[in-house]
């Protein structure tokens, strides 16, 4: 990234060329920090549901067993948190959001979604960022059940955006014809959150 004014005596870590590292990020290696702002819910798979509604032809709710029976797919790659850590080469297993959206059949007027959690957490995304193989409902991490503090039993996974967009304890998606700021977005964070353009805060 383009730096500011040099600070006397600051050298920084050795420069390793890492084309996978977005500007302003560092490699967290084995760490996977937990940064949720709310109490981690005790949510059993049997109590988990996932709903798609709003501007769709067929609003639908899936139970855990129904969602787990859908054709699965996985993501292997990197994730990037706005607090500046990135994590390389992680593997999540789940179901592509395309599978759920195809079943609910979005109205052509739908442009955005609000993803919401069983805790009440919300985050907004353009519909185009969660379709076309770019987003998942994730159930596993490194082939094990997703831990509760990381959003288990199921979280949204949108790895090409900052990770606050990947709502933990995912409860549903509502399709809208406009952008509706979510929890962090109302608290000053960027509406889209593309790490490669360093869209951390509103105004970036």
């Amino acid at each position: 990234m383009t730096g500011g004014h040099p600070t006397r005596g600051f050298v920084g870590r050795p420069r390793t060329h890492n084309p996978g590292l977005p500007p302003g990020q560092y490699d967290a290696r084995d760490d996977w920090p937990v940064l949720s702002a709310e109490v981690t819910p005790e949510l059993a798979p049997d109590d988990w549901t996932f709903r798609v509604d709003g501007l769709v032809a067929e609003p639908r709710t899936w139970t855990w067993d129904e969602a787990r029976a859908l054709p699965g797919s996985s993501y292997e790659g990197d994730i990037h948190c706005v607090t500046t850590w990135s994590k390389f080469g992680v593997r999540f297993g789940g179901v592509s959001l395309d599978v759920f959206l195809d079943a609910a059949r979005p109205d052509p007027a739908a442009t955005h979604v609000v993803a919401y959690s069983h805790t009440g957490y919300t985050t907004n995304l353009p519909l185009a960022d969660v379709t076309g193989g770019k987003a998942w409902v994730a159930f596993t991490y490194e082939d094990a059940p997703l831990p509760a503090e990381h959003g288990g039993p199921a979280r949204l996974l949108v790895p090409h955006l900052y990770f606050w967009k990947s709502a933990k304890w995912l409860a549903g998606l509502r399709l809208l014809d406009h952008d509706e700021p979510g929890f962090w977005e109302q608290n000053g964070y960027h509406a889209r959150g593309n790490p490669w353009e360093e869209q951390r805060y509103a105004g970036d």
């Binding site: 937990v34 702002a37 509706e180 929890f183 000053g188 105004g203």
Partner: protein, 246 residues
Amino acid sequence: MSETFTPPTAFAVPGRIAVSNRAAATWQRAVLTEIRRETPRVSTFRFAVPGWQGHLPGQHLMLRLTAEDGYTAQRHYSLASPPDDSGHIELTLDHVEGGEVSGFLHTVARVGDAVEVRGPLSGFFAWPGDRPALLVGAGSGVVPLMSMLRHHRQRQLAVPLRLFVSARTREDLIYGDQYGDETTPVLTRESERRHLDTDHLAPCFTDGGPGWEAYVCGSNAFAEHASRLLVRLGQPVDRIRIERYG
């Protein structure tokens, strides 16, 4: 369909205050004016930031260091100082082993050096001084809570405020000489050698308590532990705000 969307769940975590997008987007020069040792591993760094627009207790900022070749490193840090500290801000930082930014500040930086900051950021963990505040922190997690305590004292607020702060030993207790009757230190490796538990917090919930807004700050393990205690004592989950140090 242009209504405002409210999630159909019982646990909605409300936002707190509007954040100035301009302040969040602008890097400002911050000149180090003082370094104060707090504990063997922790120091407070005081900066002059003439254009600082003020903040609410509990907010944080992003601090950026730039090397001669343009390389940058940036981290989020909580503000330790209260809002009424015109043109100055204070950060209290752990010396993280191998920490690129905190390591520089602890071992290389000296008074007169300039860094850059942007903020204040995020309104969720902020406390404007309006509701009774139940503050629970561990280690350097006490830093944003100290901003709240300082604010409470400076403004002589009448609203109740209680602070529970966990540290390993008396020597590791940040701001150890600055606490009053509002604070209960919990030392895990000294005196009673106990972790924060229900009986520490229970007196705050006598007759249901005054309607606390709870703020929990510390490691993820501590935040999980403390937030569960609060829930067990009847604190509503939508009145618990958590900041976990990653």
